[in-house]
């Protein structure tokens, strides 16, 4: 269970931190231990959109002009726009531009969150609901003891909630 890759991600988690003015913040509690992990998301309009671009909210727009490491923004994609908070996020063309997470947790939950966050960047929101637990286990490279599945699926549970908002 504690493979080198897991330990590496635990020691140096990717996308660990906070996104100020995130479009969506999801707090996820691990029922096994009560540990809390908070996920921050920023969404963008995908480059292959069939829909006319939605204009950004003024506040979010000013934020989006800040220096950021979003690949899409860096590429200067003209169709990028932040989803309005009341927006229909179920629209398949919205992408995850950025994701970060913070909080405390065990090696399994931190490493999984790290690996999953790397993998969902720039993915369609609609595709998130198709990610299964098996996919997550594949991503982290193998089996997890049954008692620890809740830790391994913590990040996935949070990511799945995007579609409820």
């Amino acid at each position: 269970m504690y493979r080198e890759e897991i330990l590496e991600h635990w020691q140096n988690p990717q996308n660990f931190g906070v996104i100020d003015n995130a479009d969506l913040v999801i707090e996820q509690v691990n029922p096994l231990c009560g540990d809390e992990v908070t996920f921050y998301f920023r969404f963008t309009r995908g480059p292959v959109s069939n829909f006319p671009p939605v204009s950004a909210q003024s506040k979010s727009k000013s934020k989006s002009s800040n220096k950021s490491n979003h690949d899409l923004r860096a590429a200067g994609n003209p169709s990028i726009a932040v989803i309005p908070r009341n927006g229909q996020m179920a629209n398949g063309e919205w992408l995850i531009a950025d994701v970060k997470f913070s909080g405390s947790g065990c090696a399994i939950s931190i490493a999984t969150a790290s690996i999953l966050s790397e993998n969902i960047k720039n993915k369609k929101i609609s595709a998130l609901s198709k990610i299964t637990g098996q996919d997550v286990l594949k991503l982290i490279g193998g089996e997890v003891a049954p008692a620890r599945l809740k830790c391994a699926f913590l990040a996935l549970e949070a990511v799945r909630k995007i579609n409820n908002h």
Binding site: Y2, G34, D35, A145, A147
Partner: protein, 461 residues
């Protein structure tokens, strides 16, 4: 078991292991596979969560169902009379075991949690009113915290919390101060399920009564971690209620005990209504059965009670003084071995005589074993010292510790141990916990220590 007085009867206790079929198990592979197939012999260090059961207890329950099973108290036929005798016989055994003279003060419930809820719902809702004070400690198990917290919310009572010292002992200065003439209920653990610390119950009861004056106040003691592990004579404690559970003392799950003083139990309304608990029912009214059956609505856990009776027989035969001594020795050895490991933090006193066989610890990156001084951190509005949460950062998460120990065959508990207010107080979100019982050995403590070394090796600390 004839051995010299004053010596640790390791060999004698080791013989008891043969009575516990589950201890022959190998884990991390097919059940009962052999060590040669890469499986690890089970080292069960989670008895504070639930104890294992000797074949004597299993046999009695099997015999009850095989030969005597019937409903109790109402039947005229032979089996019903036998079942009733076995059930009530178990009640007498339990009463004797804990120093209670009147068996009708022993109420069978599902577990300690239900016993506490029974008191909170029945006595609490009758006696605790707006503005009254309920006093609990910061180190209670959720089962002795949440029922009172919710009662306070419901009735407008005030919930007051007693902090602990850095030694893990209750803060006696605060204890005296917090209890006032307005206090209607004081409750505390006998032995902490996290720190293992033993409360001086009789002394605390005296202090509480003095601080309260001559008013009507009840004192409830949570003995879930005490009764299984040390001699307890409830009649000498001076409290009003005492609760414990069967499954932590070699008995089956689903059977627990509420003891209460007769005069208090008499005045309490029933908790659950139904069969068995009534005396007479008409369309207009019902009257209640006598103690203890007033509180035992419905068909009780007969086999559970019978199993608990057998567990009490088993423990009595060994002698609780010897059980306690064995656990002190194991705890002493474990604290000494664990504190030799750099980067292991244990909680509570290092004096094994002040604690039960429960050791909570964390494994961290520090090069030196250390004790966290949590009373030096900032105070909150209640005057309690709360440590900063970020101190835990250097610790390996207890679930990771437990997983690696499990892969070595060592079963421990990890997490917040249903004591989140205490974990907040200690400034940690989780801890690993090893707990001992009469069937554990010194060699098993060595396996625990080896497992902790494996944790350090895995996480490269």
């Amino acid at each position: 078991m004839k051995t010299g007085k004053g010596k640790w009867e390791l060999v004698e206790f080791k013989k008891l292991r043969a009575d516990f079929p589950i201890l022959k198990r190998y884990v991390n592979g097919p059940s009962f596979a052999k060590a040669s197939e890469g499986k690890k012999p089970l080292v069960y260090l989670d008895s504070a969560a639930t104890s294992q059961k000797p074949r004597q207890v299993l046999a009695v329950m099997d015999e009850y169902y095989s030969k005597h099973n019937a409903n109790v108290h109402r039947g005229i036929h032979t089996l019903s009379v036998e079942a009733t005798e076995m059930y009530e016989g178990a009640r007498r055994k339990v009463a004797d075991f804990v120093g209670v003279k009147d068996p009708s003060e022993i109420v069978f419930v599902r577990n300690a949690t239900e016993a506490i809820n029974l008191v909170a719902y029945s006595w609490g809702r009758q006696n605790i009113k707006k503005g009254d004070e309920i006093v609990v400690t910061i180190a209670e198990h959720h089962s002795n915290f949440v029922p009172w917290q919710q009662l306070a919310f419901e009735n407008g009572a005030v919930l007051k919390i007693i902090p602990i010292e850095k030694s893990g002992e209750l803060d006696l200065v605060a204890f005296r101060k917090v209890i006032t003439p307005k206090t209607k209920l004081v409750t505390f653990f006998h032995v902490s399920n996290v720190l293992g610390m033993i409360n001086p119950v009789a002394d605390l009861v005296k202090i509480a009564r003095k601080a309260n004056g001559k008013r009507q106040m009840a004192i409830l003691v949570d003995g879930a971690q005490a009764i299984p592990h040390m001699p307890v004579d409830i009649s000498k404690l001076g409290c009003d209620f005492y609760v414990f559970t069967g499954h932590k003392m070699l008995g089956p799950t689903g059977i627990g005990v509420l003891w209460g003083k007769r005069e208090i139990l008499e005045l309490m309304p029933p908790f659950l209504f139904g069969g068995e608990m009534i005396s007479k029912v008409s369309v207009q009214n019902s009257t209640w059965n006598e103690l203890p059956w007033k509180f035992e609505a419905g068909t009780p856990n007969i086999a559970g009670a019978v199993g608990l009776g057998a567990a009490v027989d088993y423990l009595s035969k060994i002698g609780m003084d010897r059980v306690r001594k064995h656990e002190i020795e194991l705890t002493k050895y474990a604290i000494s071995e664990l504190s030799k490991i750099a980067g292991v933090t244990t909680y509570g006193s290092n004096d094994a005589k002040k604690r039960g066989g429960v050791i909570s610890f964390n494994v961290g990156s520090s090069r030196q074993a250390r004790t966290i001084n949590y009373s030096s951190s900032p105070s909150n509005s209640l005057g309690m010292n709360f440590a900063k949460r970020n101190r835990e950062v250097s610790f390996i998460h207890a679930h990771d510790v437990a997983s690696i120990l499990d892969s070595e065959g060592v079963a421990i508990r990890s997490g917040h141990h249903c004591a989140q207010p205490l974990m907040d107080f200690l400034g940690i979100s989780s801890a690993a916990r090893a707990s001992f019982y009469l069937y554990n050995t010194k060699e098993e403590v060595d396996r625990l220590v080896e497992g902790v070394m494996k944790v350090k090796e895995t996480f490269k600390i």
